[in-house]
């Protein structure tokens, strides 16, 4: 298998390298064309005219430039001996157009002084031709009509045509290497803000232009803290329309899928309705992911959204939802906005799971326990969610109000067969159980925030603003469960146990939180005092939590065959938790700048806080009547450093320190032990103390400011100590019966690292993207196993390497190599586990014609761990897609999934003193035919041609 894999990889690399070479260090000579643009009537050069070079034959854009300070342009990599056309345009001028050819041998054409003629004022409204790109102040504008694309193209196809714009494999968009942080349509968020919904649905022909600009909210640091925003400006009259999809598919093994969606928008309103159902593990958990998965996509190549072959079990999700947004102000700005949004989502999911695992646990330095388990479960759940929000901004006041309600209702049947044995395969015990449960839950939350800062203030202004937010959450859960368990010991038959227990549990509670921040305290108190530029703020967090838990438990009396109340487990516990955290923020900022050279700033933050908690538990059982108060000084602190070097790069460094408190719950202090699950008996420890976590994190990012060959990278490290951590003390007997209670232990340490590097190369006809990211975490956990204190040290890593290659709009290929490892060691027992998972995914999509596309997606998986055999399997999915009707509105698709019939989802993970390997049931080979229709209309009436 690996031979094939290696061969394919080598081939791709070869193709890529060859192509890259062909484009850059090409020995075939590249031609130069230069010239100067002048308005001879007014006698000056045009400094930001747009100059575009097209292939004369078919008007494909080859390159564009904006004239420099001297009114000049100079193209360096034009094809030789091919008829070309140059278009020069500028606001207020007629477009100049000329055909030329760069002669072989000379390789250069000097077009000399090109005379730009002013457009007659009378003809002002007549757009003769627009340049592909223009600068309007600080806004970069791409004019859609200048790019010749198929009539069915969408915005994404347009973006791919623009030099310096990169669409990344993960959906991100960068312009000149800088990431676009938000995308708007006509200045407003579009159907929830997912980039894809706009870029893969909106027809290119409905777009007037795409604007890219910095959103600098702060006058002080114009370029420094700004983020890049993209706005799609629709053509006049196209700001009203709809798009959607209806699709159904049926395949072998009764596999089916169906989905329908419709999105409608007008200048003030947006409404989307979506529904989907299938039995092929295509699960959407929100409105947005449903919408993102029913986009039109257009004629480009795409390698994404396949049924999830890694998902466990067989799922039959059904989902539907609605999304609504209304802008009371048609053209909202940052200062003036009034928007109402609402979402409804219902999901119904049936799934069947079958899992087989084997877990090896160290008992002491020589003995290990091997537990084999089989779990069969079926579940059916219905979740509903309704949320809405209102946002108002007016003259320094900002109000946000949000509410959400969630309901869920589910039934589960869960059967577990477990057997435990020694390393020598001697069976010691079995524990089999059957659980049937029915759960109902409802929760709601309301939150609001108010923020005020005056639009301008002077030295004499006392009150410079405040921020406040309020959160209220409530929940109500109800569960009914029957548990039948049988424990059999092969060592001592007297220990055999059988249970048939019924649970009826109810819980409800609420959480209220109020946060208040008053900035610039020093101004409020002493208008003019400056305190050496130290800034003070008051913060306060108050939260009140209540929880009421009522458990009714009954056991089957085998003699009378009736259920009788279990006096021990029948219980009601009420817990009130009050948390109050007053704090004083102290901040000192330093700035250093030198015009046109650099801007550096450093902020040192210190935020001392006192956290006071009072936990009050009231129970039917007196030993659970525990009232405890906790107090702890929990300071936060940090240093931010920002370094902007004009024309070179900007870098930011952040160092943060924080302290958090964790207090033991009633379940950890004094639980009622349910003895049905002998493989995991939970006991309490009344002596548990609070644990304190101290975290130190550091991050670094580099943003390239050059316009060519940008390279961006990011790095983050987080480390910490937990003192008095609440950890497990595990007692395993020779029959794998586990008793767990919590103890406090010092010495917990952890460190996580994360980083990425990104680089894109754009060639004339193709594009190559490289992306490496890796994260690693290592920790040392204290714990007790059979009363022996041991540290378990763990190391987990996960690295991904992605290469994306696209050639014109015909071919897209993506190679993803993922590599993850785990390693753990128990110091006291001198034992260790390790394993690794390797995955290579090779996806390709080839547009045979404009209407016909072939897709293939192969994943090679390799999973290995200490003490077991390697597991290798390959999943190959392929599909053929045919688009028809005039607007490509209809689609026929034939897919073959898991062609090699090898899918068997592998379980391979490690914890502090055990590791688990196994398999679970997954989706396997099927074939499916799908037919879809995409109704689309942009503008009031579809233009008839």
């Amino acid at each position: 298998m690996y031979k094939i894999y290696a061969l394919v990889v080598v081939m791709i690399l070869a193709v890529t390298v060859f192509d890259a070479k062909a484009q850059t260090a090409n020995p075939a000579p590249a031609g130069t064309a230069k010239g100067l643009v002048r308005d001879t009537v007014q006698n000056y050069v045009l400094k930001s005219a747009t100059v575009s070079v097209y292939k004369a034959a078919d008007s494909t854009l080859i390159s564009y430039q904006v004239t420099n300070n001297y009114g000049e342009f100079s193209f360096k990599t034009l094809p030789i001996n091919i008829p070309l056309r140059i278009d020069i345009s500028h606001v207020g001028y007629l477009t100049y157009r000329k055909n030329f050819t760069i002669p072989t041998g000379k390789n250069i054409v000097d077009l000399g002084t090109i005379v730009a003629e002013r457009r007659d004022v009378m003809l002002k409204d007549v757009e003769i031709s627009v340049p592909p790109i223009s600068m309007n102040g600080d806004t970069l504008e791409f004019n859609a009509s200048a790019f010749k694309l198929d009539s069915n193209a969408v915005v994404e196809d347009l973006l791919r045509k623009i030099p310096n714009v990169t669409l990344w494999g993960d959906g991100k968009i960068t312009v000149n290497g800088r990431e676009v942080k938000s995308l708007l349509v006509n200045g407003k968020s579009f159907f929830g803000g997912d980039l894809k919904i706009a870029t893969q649905n909106l027809s290119k022909n409905s777009v007037q232009k795409i604007q890219v600009y910095n959103t600098a909210r702060d006058q002080q640091s114009t370029r420094a803290d700004s983020t890049l925003e993209m706005n799609i400006k629709l053509k006049k009259g196209k700001d009203i329309g709809f798009f959607g999809k209806v699709g159904i598919g049926y395949g072998s093994d009764n596999r089916y899928e169906a989905d329908a969606s419709i999105n409608m928008y007008s200048p003030k309103m947006q409404l989307a309705l979506v529904g989907a159902m299938n039995n092929i593990n295509k699960t959407a958990n929100s409105m947005n992911s449903l919408m993102a998965n029913s986009t039109f996509k257009g004629v480009g190549t795409n390698v994404e959204y396949q049924p999830d072959f890694r998902a466990t079990g067989i799922n039959r999700p059904r989902a539907a939802g609605a999304n609504f947004a209304y802008d009371f102000i048609e053209k909202p700005t940052y200062q003036k906005k009034s928007t109402l949004k609402a979402n409804y989502f219902i999901q119904d999911r049936n799934s069947d799971n079958l899992t087989e695992t084997q877990t090896t646990t160290s008992i002491n330095s020589t003995d290990k326990n091997i537990e084999k388990g089989t779990n069969i479960s079926t579940s059916s759940n219905t979740n509903q969610r309704f949320d809405s929000g209102y946002e108002l901004a007016k003259k320094g006041h900002r109000v946000n109000l949000n509410q959400a309600v969630n309901f869920s209702n589910g039934e589960d049947i869960d059967q577990t067969f477990r057997s435990a044995g020694t390393l020598q395969d001697a069976l010691t015990s079995t524990n089999n159980s059957l659980n049937t449960s029915h759960n109902k839950s409802a929760n709601y939350n309301v939150n609001g925030s108010y923020y005020y800062s005056p639009s301008f203030y002077t030295d004499r202004t006392r009150f410079t603003g405040l921020s406040m937010d309020f959160r209220l959450q409530g929940y109500e859960n109800e569960g009914k469960r029957v548990n039948i368990t049988e424990f059999k010991s092969f060592i001592d038959a007297t220990q055999n146990q059988k249970f048939n227990r019924k649970y009826d549990t109810k819980s409800n509670g609420s959480n209220q939180e109020l946060n208040l921040t008053i900035p610039n305290l020093q101004k409020l108190l002493f208008v003019k005092a400056r305190f050496a530029r130290i800034n003070f703020k008051i913060t306060n967090k108050l939260s009140l939590k209540t929880d009421d838990n009522d458990n009714r438990v009954e056991d089957l009396d085998t003699l009378t065959n009736t259920y009788r109340p279990n006096a021990y487990l029948n219980n009601r516990v009420k817990t009130n938790l009050i948390e109050e955290t007053p704090g004083l923020g102290i901040e000192r900022s330093f700035q250093k700048s030198l015009s046109n050279r650099y801007y550096k700033s450093m902020t040192i933050r210190f935020h001392p806080k006192m956290i006071m908690m009072s936990q009050d538990n009231r129970s039917d059982r007196s030993f659970q009547n525990i009232k405890r108060n906790y107090r702890k000084f929990v300071p936060d602190a940090g240093i931010d450093y920002y370094n902007y070097q004009y024309g070179e790069y900007s870098r930011s460094y952040n160092l943060n320190y924080s302290t958090t408190l964790k207090i033991p719950t009633i379940q950890q202090l004094a639980p009622l032990t349910d003895s049905t699950n002998l493989y995991y008996l939970q006991r309490g420890n009344i002596n548990l103390r609070k644990s304190v976590q101290q975290t130190l994190s550091f991050s670094f990012s580099h943003d390239d400011q050059r316009s060519k060959n940008t390279l961006n990278y990011y790095f983050r490290a987080t480390g910490g100590f937990i003192s008095d951590n609440i950890v497990d003390s595990l007692i395993i007997d020779d029959q794998n019966r586990r008793t767990v209670f919590q103890v406090n232990a010092d010495g917990h340490k952890y460190l996580t690292l994360y980083g990425y590097i990104r680089k894109a190369y754009k060639f004339k006809t193709s594009e190559l993207q490289l992306d490496v990211n890796t994260d690693m975490n290592t920790n040392r956990n204290p714990g007790y196993t059979n009363n022996v204190f041991t540290y378990s040290t763990n190391l987990n890593t996960n690295s991904n390497f992605n290469v994306n290659y696209t050639y014109k709009s015909y071919l897209a290929m993506a190679l993803n190599q993922s590599f993850s490892t785990y390693k753990s060691r128990q110091e006291a027992f001198n034992t260790g586990y390790n394993g690794k998972n390797l995955g290579t995914t090779l996806s390709s999509s080839y547009n045979v014609t404009k209407k016909f596309t072939l897709n293939s997606n192969i994943t090679f998986n390799n999973s290995s761990s200490s003490n077991t055999k390697d597991i290798n399997f390959t999943i190959w999915n392929a599909s053929a897609v045919y688009r028809f009707l005039k607007g490509n509105n209809a689609e026929f698709k034939f897919s073959a999934l898991d062609l090699l019939r090898q899918n068997s989802s592998v379980i391979n993970y490690g914890t502090s003193n055990s590791f688990t390997v196994g398999t679970q049931n997954v989706l396997q080979q099927y074939f499916m035919a799908t037919i879809s229709y995409y109704p689309r209309q942009f503008g009031k009436k579809a233009a008839k041609k």
Partner: protein, 416 residues
Amino acid sequence: MLKFALSSLIICALSYGQTMAQGSKIDSSKMVTLRIDPSSARGAAVSQFFDEVNFIPLETTKESLFGSISQLKMTDENYFVFDWETKAVLIFTKTGKYVAKVNASKIEKDPDLKDNQAFYGFDLKTEDGKTLIQISAGKKKHYFDLTGKLVKKVDVDKADKYADYKKFGDGTVIDQNYLEEKDKDSTYYHLSLIKDQKKVETYFPYRPGDYKNDEGWHGGSIYDYGNPDEFLYVKNYQYNIYKLTSKSLSLAYQIFFPAVNSLPIDYGTNPIYKGKRYEYYEKNRDLFYEMANSYLHGDNLYFQVRNWNWSRDEKKAFIYNLKSNDLTSLADIEPDSTSQFLPITDLTSQYDFTNHGFHIVTPDYFYTSYSSLAMFTFKEQNEEKNRKYNALLTEYFKTQNRKGNPVIIQLKPKKN
């Protein structure tokens, strides 16, 4: 709407009458009306306006590194630069060689001050035939010699509050914030002429409350164009250029711009704009909300306009020929051999010239500046054309980089 318009008109009329009653009469007998359409501005070659262009890179050393020139003065031997960012006065020779600097470390702090004593500029004084740098900071005036050494410290004389004000040859002082106290009211004036501590004339009265909760206002600006007996004065929200002598203020040029660029006539007085000016400019980006940096040289009237349109193409600095009525856009003065094919201002990057205009205007030379970042950008854009620079610039491009000190540009305007 009509009611509103009518009532605001009445308010305007009333307030106009009220305030005018208190100021001196402005002579407008010699007023010339100019109609200027910025879009008709033409380009020209550097040599059409200037006989000579000299680039004087200011030496960059660890000691002399500074941000930008916010104030420039000179003597026969030296340039003196005040840099706002490093809060320093730097002394260079006329060839740009660094001599010395005076920064906060050399200034005595007021006793109750923790930080460095701030100062916001400097003056040149001559004593016993020697040039001294005078820096007013806190309660003292400090005098330094040309090596940056402190010569003396003098307490600020409260009685002579006009010591450092702009003055005419006959000792008449220009006060831009003159307060006249009468029995009950107190009235300020945006512009007053004071001689021997007594007022000669007062113009543009206002009350402190007039600008309460208003945005971005100022009284007006005075420009020295190298004539010791006359300054140009530009009042905000007006497109008028006044001439100010020691005797009186006269309206010299009344400019009309196309309607799309013009503020409403009552913009300065109508209270409906109060506190909403930024919002108004944001909506009307082509409006010229003020004129600035006006100088007169021969028949050429130099001026800038400001609006909220930041496009690179926007023409905002002009030379208007009073005789020929030709309008030239300063940003479109094309580099030629006179300027070694380098632009004469940094108007395209909207930095030094946009903010300060010419630092110094004398009858013979104008002085402006731009950053080394701009200098190197212009040079890179010239790269393929094999431009030859003089020895000084060749050396500068060879040894310096885009992070060096700004460059002074000395221009010799043609006489006409």
